[in-house]
């Protein structure tokens, strides 16, 4: 019977489909499990290695001890000066960056014409792509020199220099997120206010900005997170003396941050000493700070989400934008009471820094308020718009100075020989070919490892699991690592891969460390892209009898692809520009040969620039040449990401 044969033919077909579905699901499940184990292994490894230090020194003494002298005969491990240094540098950076950023954000979203907006916005996003070692290089060569001459001091390496550089680095983060928040304020609010005869400035200051306040607050918190986590730039310009400035407001005093301490001492520490464990203690403190930043931002953004507005739809876009920065951590339970103590201490310290910054902002706002009473609205608008114009000018000017300095001085060295030859005379002459190749190897390896696992894990988490306690904990872990300073990954890679697994300082150790660093980002951006695909599309596909994998492959992945690609490209850029994770795991300063195997060390552009500018006097040309190549490489990668995103933005609309 024809019906019969058709029937029998369909059964193996069905089994085959089902087997395929099972196999695919298993692959994604393995990716997810691997990612989860890795994430929690890193956290456990750091805490485990820090534990002896906490036990021996005592958490309280560790946090409040006023002297950090690990090299002495009777070493002392008190990180209080380092915490103070970190807070002061961050505080200074925020005092500079917050008014400038909010001014810029208001300008971009409310005042600029569309044409100017379409120029400034990507420019500011590109600014976030400049590697931190390039900022450090600029700070060390130019900024500290200016400060030295301006204040007539022996060296410009100081708290102030650190704060200025960190402020410039935090600008793009704060500007982009604040601008998102202000732009997503429903247009009806503006129209409602303007229709009552309010001036543009009255509308901005009394309706639009207040409505965006939680988004702006979250932006500042994330900016603080970025400033606290920065290693290389601060290490290069802040002077690194583990002292508390005397008097406390002496901005010209050198300071040392937590991250810089790891960057300086990690390479020379004996693994059997208490010093080694104390460095892990610092890493745990940094993790706790990342956790606090994450929780604060989450709480603020949760408020943003619950405050219902008449046009909830308009806010939808911003929610998606924000979610890629973070998600709830409420389910993360720390195991030990001592850790809760650290959390409390860190929260306290953090609140102090936050309070001072708030007071400054409030003072400025009050000043404006007083002026409001005195001056007519039209003049007020003129004054306010001029101040905003000045803020925009300062930001663009700093960007222009940095880029001009590096391009003008670096361009003459950008020759074919420079790009294709090995360095000689300690990098003063010759080229940087091995460093370029090394960086490309490191990035390629990192992406090859992180991409399949990250995307697989994200697919499993969003498409195959129900939203529950487990996914929340996993997401919290990924977010925590996402906000963790890159130097902490360097520490992990050094201790676990280089020493414990005995990889030695090698290409593979660097690749794995970088992969671990970008894995959380890839997971989260992929998850976010998948989530923006409306559920109704999935239902539509299932209703036609498609299987899970058919639905994912043909319906969910195609529209999510631009988001995933953008996330990946940004990760590549970040991996290419990072110094901290590779400097103790993979790189050497000088190597005339390319690596022969995965277990050889390599040269890399960021590290090459770091050593040239901090340890090799008289290599001015090579420094600028290297800085320019690194800048072009990373900014080029970012530019591709931005282009991809805006290309698909125009094509895709739900």
């Amino acid at each position: 019977m024809p019906g019969m044969s058709q029937h029998t033919a369909r059964i193996p077909e069905l089994t085959r489909v089902r087997l395929k579905e099972m196999a695919i699901k298993t692959i994604w499940f393995l990716c997810a499990i691997f990612a989860i184990i890795t994430i929690f292994f890193i956290l456990a490894f750091l805490i485990g290695n820090a534990y002896p230090a906490f036990q021996e020194i005592g958490i309280w003494n560790f946090l409040t001890g006023t002297s950090w002298t690990p090299a002495n005969v009777n070493p002392e491990y008190g990180i209080y000066p380092l915490i103070v240094g970190t807070l002061l540098v961050t505080l200074g950076a925020m005092i500079i960056a917050v008014p400038l950023s909010i001014g810029c954000a208001v300008y971009i979203s409310e005042i600029a014409s569309p044409r100017i907006k379409s120029l400034i916005k990507p420019a500011i996003e590109l600014l976030s792509g400049i590697p931190s070692v390039v900022f450090g290089f600029f700070g060390l060569i130019i900024l500290t020199n200016w400060l030295r001459i301006l204040f007539d001091i022996p060296t410009g390496e100081s708290w102030l220099a650190g704060s200025i550089i960190l402020a410039i680095m935090a600008l793009p983060t704060i500007i982009s997120i604040s601008e998102d928040a202000i732009s997503s304020v429903p247009q009806e609010y503006r129209e409602g206010s303007l229709a009552l005869g309010a001036t543009r400035w009255q509308t901005i200051s009394r309706v639009t900005t207040p409505a965006a306040l939680s988004g702006i607050t979250a932006a500042i918190i994330l900016g603080i997170g970025r400033a606290i986590g920065e290693t290389m730039a601060v290490l290069m310009v802040a002077g690194n003396a583990a002292i508390i400035p005397d008097p406390i407001w002496n901005v010209l005093s050198p300071v040392r941050t937590l991250t810089a301490t790891l960057g300086i001492e990690m390479g020379e520490v004996s693994t059997t000493s208490l010093h080694y464990n104390a460095l892990f203690g610092i890493a745990v403190v940094l993790l706790v700070i990342a956790l606090v930043v994450n929780i604060l931002a989450t709480v603020v953004l949760a408020r943003l989400r619950t405050s219902a507005t008449p046009s909830a739809k308009t806010c939808e876009g911003s929610k998606n934008g924000f979610r890629s920065y973070l998600t709830p951590v409420e389910d993360l339970v720390l195991p030990n009471v001592s850790y809760i103590l650290i959390v409390l201490a860190a929260i306290a310290a953090f609140i102090v820094a936050g309070l001072v910054a708030t007071i400054v902002v409030v003072a400025i706002l009050l000043g404006i308020q007083v002026l409001h009473r005195q001056v007519s609205p039209r003049w007020m608008q003129r004054i306010a718009f001029s101040l905003i114009g000045i803020a925009v000018a300062i930001v663009l000017f700093s960007l222009a100075v940095i880029l001009y300095d590096i391009i003008a001085n670096g361009l003459p060295y950008l020759t074919w020989d420079f790009l294709t030859e090995a360095p000689s005379n300690l990098g003063r002459s010759g080229g940087i070919f091995p460093a370029i190749v090394g960086t490309l190897y490191l990035v390629a390896g990192a992406i090859l490892i992180a991409l399949p696992i990250g995307i697989g894990a994200a697919i499993y988490l969003t498409e195959y699991t129900l939203e529950g306690r487990m996914t929340k904990i996993i997401r919290a872990g990924a977010d925590l690592l996402n906000g963790t300073p890159s130097i902490v990954f360097g520490l992990f890679g050094f201790a676990f891969l280089v020493l414990f697994l005995n990889f030695g300082v090698s290409l593979i150790a660097g690749q794995v460390t970088l992969a671990l660093m970008i894995l959380p980002t890839i997971i989260r951006t992929t998850e976010e892209s998948l989530k923006t695909v409306p559920q109704s599309l999935r239902e539509g596909s299932f209703a036609l009898g498609a299987t899970k994998w058919q639905t994912i492959r043909r319906v969910v992945l195609p529209p999510a692809m631009p988001g995933i690609i953008t996330g990946t490209i940004l990760s590549i850029g970040r991996a290419a520009g990072e110094t901290a994770p590779i400097m103790f795991t993979a790189v050497v300063f000088s190597s005339r040969f390319l690596p022969q195997s995965l277990f050889d060390p390599v040269m890399a552009l960021p590290y090459h620039l770091f050593i040239l500018s901090t340890n090799i006097p008289g290599a001015s040309g090579a420094k600028y040449g290297t800085a320019l190549v690194l800048l072009l490489l990373v900014v080029g990668i970012y530019a591709i990401a931005i282009a991809v995103r805006s290309h698909y933005h125009r094509k895709l609309r739900w």
Binding site: E188, E191, G192, A195, L196, G197, A198, T199, R206, P310
Partner: protein, 254 residues
């Protein structure tokens, strides 16, 4: 119709959005203390026209305007004319209720405050009178300091009307104020409009022909950017001169 009570005089008004010619040579005169309705099919330009009267189209990129709009004796598009000053005198109520994310009280007090009134007792008075005029006072007097977002759609729209009244305008523009509301809320707004015209010049854009017939004294019928016919409401609905108008109000298209 040009008698001495005409408040707004529009002549030869053209408007382009980029390449699109959205308003074509519109001329009309609008009387004080009357309700003027603009009707017409979707996309005919009625909302665009009403937004010319308080220069809200300034906010639209690529929008170009030509012709004159005189309010009293002043040209509102003259160089140096201050749109904020104009909008204070010509208020607007939007299609979708758009209260600010503030308390009910602060929503009303916002306008007076930006125009320099900071005295608490005075503000209290303005809030109360405005809410009473908007027939909302009894419903909200016990929760003035609660968020305006908690009100129903109809209440939100009346709040927006109260907010507009609070700055004491001469003209109130209403851009389809009832299109997002249910019939009961619509009836309330309509009877409110009856009250408002005793003090204000009201211009209303509506999709709903019955509404125009019910509330307005004058009606303009717009079609594809043209003001096809403009006259007293009774005449427009009972004895239209233009064939297009007749087809529209008898429901042959729209």
């Amino acid at each position: 119709m040009s008698d001495n009570t005409s408040l707004l005089t529009i002549s030869g008004l053209n408007l382009w959005y980029g390449e699109t010619h959205a308003l074509k040579n519109i001329s009309m005169e609008i009387q004080d203390k009357k309700v003027t309705a603009l009707i017409g099919p979707s996309g005919c330009g009625k909302s665009t026209l009403i937004r010319c009267f308080n220069r809200m189209n300034d906010l639209v990129n690529g929008c170009r305007i030509d012709g004159t709009v005189r309010f009293h004796e002043t040209e509102i598009y003259a160089d140096g004319a201050d749109p904020a000053e104009l909008r204070r005198k010509i208020g607007m109520v939007f299609q979708k209720p758009n209260p600010f994310p503030k308390s009910i009280y602060e929503n009303i007090a916002y306008g007076p405050r930006i125009h320099g009134i900071n005295d608490r007792a005075k503000l209290d008075g303005i809030v109360e009178t405005s809410l009473k005029k908007a027939a909302l006072w009894d419903e909200v007097k016990d929760r003035l300091h609660h968020s305006a977002m908690g009100l129903s759609g109809g209440q939100q729209q009346r709040l927006c009307i109260a907010r507009t009244i609070a700055v004491e305008p001469e003209v109130i523009l209403m851009d389809e104020p009832c299109s997002a509301l249910d019939p009961i809320a619509t009836a309330k707004i309509e009877s409110l409009i009856e009250e408002l015209k005793k003090q204000y010049c009201v211009i209303i854009v509506t999709h709903n022909m019955q509404q125009a017939a019910r509330v307005s004294d004058y009606t303009g019928f717009m079609y594809m950017g043209d003001l096809a016919e403009f006259g007293e409401t009774v005449q427009i609905f009972e004895n239209p001169k233009n064939e297009l108008t007749e087809n529209y109000i008898t429901g042959r298209f729209g």
